[in-house]
Each structure stands twice: as structure tokens, then as C-alpha cells.
């Protein structure tokens, strides 16, 4: 501990340093910072001219399964072996638990294999997608004309830039975590390994059918870009409105402590994500 200078500076105010730091470090590096302008009345009115994507969109499980069987990703050899093993595991009653840790399904797996509904929110310069069952399913797609950042921070859903061409929203997504699965089901998927790039065309295939055509380029695990489409059905019935979803809630049970207060009590699960019966 000799090299560690231990100082007791009881009176050192926290407020002293930040001001200095802001002046030295947080100042805009060069040029003027970009300011997002407040939306104008025209921008709000213009949203009405876009295709109407309001309502709740429900996934189509059977179509997902069809895609998995008829249009598999062009896995490279190493990935194909893992997929083969995952199929064998699933057949043996041990489905590989890809999505059991309450981390987001993330891009592109959310779009590909989700079993839950979503809603799509338009605002001036933004399209926001919110998934049910776990609120971490959240995509922010910027449609305000910006380009990708120079060095975007990797995230579960990546940095998404959107552009309307006619009635189709083209979305370009980069900077996703290399751990994000390219999944074809809840039990078959491979971490993308980095450098993944996703281009999507989102459009209404029919008035009540929303389609997402994805082109996934993932040089670490795919031999060529993979093109696949997912569809979602619209619901407008109020009692089917999207509801709050917190993935972690499933890892707790409501209980009452000895003083009578309601508390969340942890419950145990097996490796596959199922609650384990009490002993």
C-alpha cells in the first residue's frame, strides 16, 4: 500500500472539480455543436402523409418457422456446425437458451424471432419501435437526415438511420454488439462476431400487414448477405393494446415480508428459463 497515496480530504467539495473539467474537456472539440431543432407545425402535419403504421403489430410465428426452414442463413462452416449442434440439442429436449438472461433479443434477432407484439411511434425526425414483454426492446431510428456517427458506441440495437423512399422506410443499422445473435429461432443462433451491417426495407405489404425485409451482412459468420422477410399483423382492438412488460419481473414473485410490506422475492429458474418448483 506504500505506493497508494491515501489522503483524507474531508473538506474537498465535489463541486470544485467538475467546473474545471467541463471547461477543459467537455467543450465542443471543433466547430459548433449540432443542435436538434424543435419540430415545426409543418413537420407534425407532414407525419400524416406517411403510411399509417399505428396500432399494435403482432408477430407471425408460422411465417417465422417457414423462413427458418426454407430460407436459412448462409452460415459459414464454423457457424453451421454450431447450428447443427443446436438443432440436435433441441431435439434431445435441451433447447439452447439463447434468450434467458433478460438481455434484449437485440438486432436482428428481435425482428427475426420475437414472439411478442410491438408498436411503432412516429415523431418528427424519428421512428421508435417498442416491443412488448420486455421494454428493453426499443429501437430509435433517426429520420432527420443525419448520417451515421463517426465512431458510434455499440449497443444492442445499433445505430439506425432511416430514410423514406415513397412508402418504404429504408433503415441502415451499424454498431451492434458482436455478442448479438443472428437467430432463426429461440434455440438456434450465432453471435454475429462484429462488423455486422443490416439494411431493412419496412413497408405495408397489405393495409394490415407490415413487412420488414432484412439484408444482413455479417462477414464473421455468414458467407454472403442474407435476405429474409418478416411480417406482422395489425391490431386496433383496444383490449389488445400493448401492455407494459419487464422481463425481469418473471424472476420475482410478489410476497409479503414479516412487517406486512409487499416485496419482490427472488425465485429460482432452471438454465432454460423455466421457474423451478420449490423444494
Amino acid at each position: 500500500m506504500r505506493n497508494i497515496r491515501r489522503e483524507v480530504l474531508a473538506l474537498l467539495g465535489l463541486s470544485l472539480m467538475p467546473g474545471v473539467a467541463l471547461a477543459q474537456v467537455a467543450k465542443p472539440a471543433a466547430g459548433k455543436p449540432v443542435i436538434n431543432p424543435p419540430p415545426t407545425a409543418k413537420e407534425w402535419a407532414d407525419l400524416a402523409k406517411l403510411p399509417d403504421w399505428t396500432g399494435v403489430w403482432t408477430h407471425v410465428r408460422s411465417d417465422q418457422d417457414r423462413q427458418m426452414k426454407t430460407n436459412p442463413p448462409p452460415w459459414n462452416e464454423k457457424a453451421a456446425k454450431v447450428i447443427e449442434w443446436q438443432y440436435a440439442e433441441e431435439r434431445a429436449g435441451r433447447p439452447p437458451p439463447l434468450f434467458q438472461n433478460c438481455l434484449p433479443e437485440a438486432m436482428p434477432a428481435w425482428m427475426l424471432v420475437t414472439h411478442n407484439a410491438m408498436e411503432i411511434i412516429f415523431s418528427p425526425g424519428r421512428v421508435t419501435m417498442l416491443g412488448e414483454s420486455d421494454s428493453a426492446r426499443l429501437r430509435r431510428i433517426y429520420t432527420d437526415g443525419r448520417g451515421h456517427s463517426e465512431d458510434p458506441d455499440p449497443t444492442f440495437h445499433g445505430e439506425s438511420i432511416g430514410k423514406w423512399e415513397g412508402d418504404t422506410l429504408h433503415v441502415d443499422t451499424i454498431a451492434m454488439h458482436p455478442q448479438n445473435y443472428i437467430a432463426i429461432s429461440e434455440a438456434q443462433g450465432i453471435p454475429n462476431g462484429g462488423d455486422m451491417h443490416i439494411k431493412e426495407k419496412m413497408f405495408l405489404q397489405k393495409p394490415e400487414v407490415w413487412a420488414d425485409e432484412l439484408t444482413i451482412t455479417a462477414p464473421k459468420v455468414l458467407t454472403k448477405p442474407w435476405v429474409t422477410t418478416r411480417i406482422y399483423y395489425r391490431q386496433r382492438l383496444r383490449r389488445l393494446d400493448i401492455v407494459e412488460g419487464t422481463c425481469l419481473e418473471g424472476y420475482f414473485r410478489p410476497a409479503v415480508d414479516k412487517d406486512g410490506y409487499p416485496v419482490w422475492e427472488k425465485i429460482s429458474h432452471d438454465p432454460y428459463g423455466n421457474r423451478t418448483p420449490p423444494k
Binding site: P33, V34, I35, N36, P38, P39, A41, K42, E43, W44, A45, L47, A48, D52, T54, G55, N101, C102, L103, I121, S123, P124, T128, A136, L138, R140, D153, T155, F156, H157, H177, P178, Q179, I190, P191, N192, G193, G194, P207, E208, R234, Q235, R236, L237, R238, R239, D241, V243, E244, T246, C247, L248, E249, F252, P254, D259, Y261, P262, V263, W264
Partner: protein, 281 residues
């Protein structure tokens, strides 16, 4: 909504309108009331949003003000709750802050509004105001401004069922249906489960061009002796470099690793009871 229909045909009719086939279970599940269809927004609905106060941008909380209010405006706790709060004060002083928000469940309503240390954004759409919090996507409020009422039997959630209406430039939000476990917290280490039957009424308005004020009235008869009202302030940021970023609370439990075969994986990251990463042995 009030008229009761006894026939399942109403559901069937709705499903025909919607263009999907009603599964068998759907038909058996007959509702007591006529199904309500959320109408598609009109051009006027969109244009009218342009007339509302502008709440766009990113809002970050005034934390010093939270601290001040924690000291100067304590809730009217009942005796039982006050004893717990006194214990929590002692614990905090002794370096053992009560870990109220260390399980990655949402801070929830009203604690998110009262003690959050993270920014949020507010999205207006026809009939809805949506609040999205940074750092943990579990911070998400859907406030219906389409004239609907609270359902007679609300499924409890972390953020409750919220309906809002505009009174001039003030959005008045009424929330019920919040889990009884949800804390009324005035600090990250001071809070009491609301015990059920809580109702929260907020008046939200721009007090200055770039300051959003939430006046929050909490009615929680099982832990408070009377209504509690307090105000919180948020500051607007419009600089693009301060845009809201993705936040997943759970990510902090994992570390990015590469396994021996070169696959990128999330490896578990141990934490202590207070919620800090544990230094490796």
C-alpha cells in the same frame, strides 16, 4: 363501453373488420362489452400536436433539487413507515444504503419521477404521450390522452395505467393500477412500498422554455397519513451529442468476453449486495 353485449358475434364481427381469423379460444373468451377499436389517426390529429407545448429534446433531472426536496419536503409517512425511514437514515449514515433499486426492476411510478438520476425523452403521438427513460429501458410510461378512462379492473404494472388530458399548457396525468411493491422513494436509499391503492396525479408543464416541472400528488392511504405533493424539475438538452442513448440495466451484470473458440459472449459479472462490481480476487 357501457352497453353490454351478450353475444360472441360482436367479437367475430370485430375480427372480420380487422381482417384476421379469430382463433377458437378467442371466440370463447367473450367480452362483456362492445369491443373498442382505436381509430387510425387523422391528418388533423397529427397537425394538432403541433399546437401542443413543445416537449421535444432530452430532459435531465435536477438532482440537487431532488436532494433538497428529500430533506425539506418529507412525505407524511404513517408511524409504521416513518420507523422504516428512520432505520434507512441510520443505515445510510453508517455506509449501508438500503438497496432499493439494485435488482434492475424499474424504479417505477412515482419513484422514477422523484429520484431518477437519468435523462428521459417524451414522445407525443395522436392520443398518447410516451416517456422513455435512459439507462434502463424498463423506464417507460404510456399515458393515454385519447379520452379513455381507467379500465374497471386494471392489471397492476410498475408504471400503472395513466390517462392524461390537457388543461391549457399543462398535461394532467392520473395514474392507478401500480404494483403494491412499488416504492414511494424520495432518495435512492429512502423508500417504502406503497402497499396498494395508490393514486398519483401529476401536473406537468414548461415552467421556463427549457425547464419542465412535474407537480406530483401522491395518494397512498396505506403508508401516508394524507396526500403528499412535491415538485421535480428537468432541464432540456437539444445538442445532438446529448441525445438519449440505449440503456439496458441488465448489461451491467455481464462483461463482453471471447470464448476459446472465438465466439463473442456475455460472461456473468459478479456484484456485491450494494450493486457494485466485485473486484476479482
Amino acid at each position: 363501453m357501457k352497453r353490454k353485449l351478450t353475444v360472441a358475434s360482436a367479437v367475430f364481427a370485430a375480427s372480420v373488420v380487422l381482417g384476421f381469423a379469430a382463433p377458437a379460444s378467442f371466440a370463447q373468451n367473450k367480452p362483456a362489452e362492445k369491443p373498442i377499436i382505436n381509430p387510425a389517426p387523422t391528418a388533423k390529429d397529427w397537425a394538432d400536436i403541433g399546437k401542443l407545448p413543445d416537449w421535444s429534446g432530452v430532459w435531465n433531472p435536477n438532482i440537487s433539487d431532488q436532494d433538497r426536496k428529500h430533506r425539506s419536503e418529507p412525505p407524511p409517512w404513517n408511524a409504521k413507515a416513518a420507523a422504516v425511514i428512520a432505520f434507512q437514515a441510520k443505515e445510510l449514515k453508517e455506509g449501508r444504503p438500503t438497496p432499493l433499486f439494485t435488482n434492475c426492476l424499474p424504479e417505477a411510478h412515482p419513484s422514477w419521477m422523484l429520484v431518477s438520476h437519468n435523462a428521459m425523452e417524451i414522445l407525443f403521438t395522436p392520443g398518447r404521450v410516451t416517456m422513455l427513460g435512459e439507462s434502463d429501458a424498463g423506464r417507460l410510461r404510456r399515458i393515454y390522452t385519447d379520452g379513455r378512462k381507467h379500465p374497471p379492473d386494471v392489471d397492476p404494472t410498475f408504471h400503472g395505467h395513466s390517462i392524461g388530458h390537457w388543461e391549457g399548457d399543462t398535461l394532467v396525468v392520473d395514474t392507478v393500477g401500480i404494483h403494491p411493491q412499488v416504492y414511494i422513494a424520495t432518495h435512492e436509499a429512502f423508500g417504502i412500498p406503497n402497499q396498494g391503492n395508490m393514486r398519483v396525479i401529476e401536473r406537468i408543464r414548461l415552467a421556463k422554455p427549457d425547464e419542465l416541472h412535474f407537480t406530483i400528488k401522491i395518494i397512498a392511504p396505506n403508508v401516508l397519513t394524507k396526500e403528499y405533493e412535491t415538485t421535480r424539475t428537468w432541464f432540456r438538452q437539444r445538442a445532438r451529442k446529448f441525445d438519449l442513448v440505449e440503456g439496458v440495466c441488465q448489461e451491467g451484470w455481464f462483461a463482453p468476453r471471447i470464448d476459446k473458440d472465438g465466439w463473442h459472449i456475455w460472461a456473468p459479472q459478479p456484484h456485491d449486495v450494494g450493486g457494485n462490481r466485485i473486484p476479482p480476487p
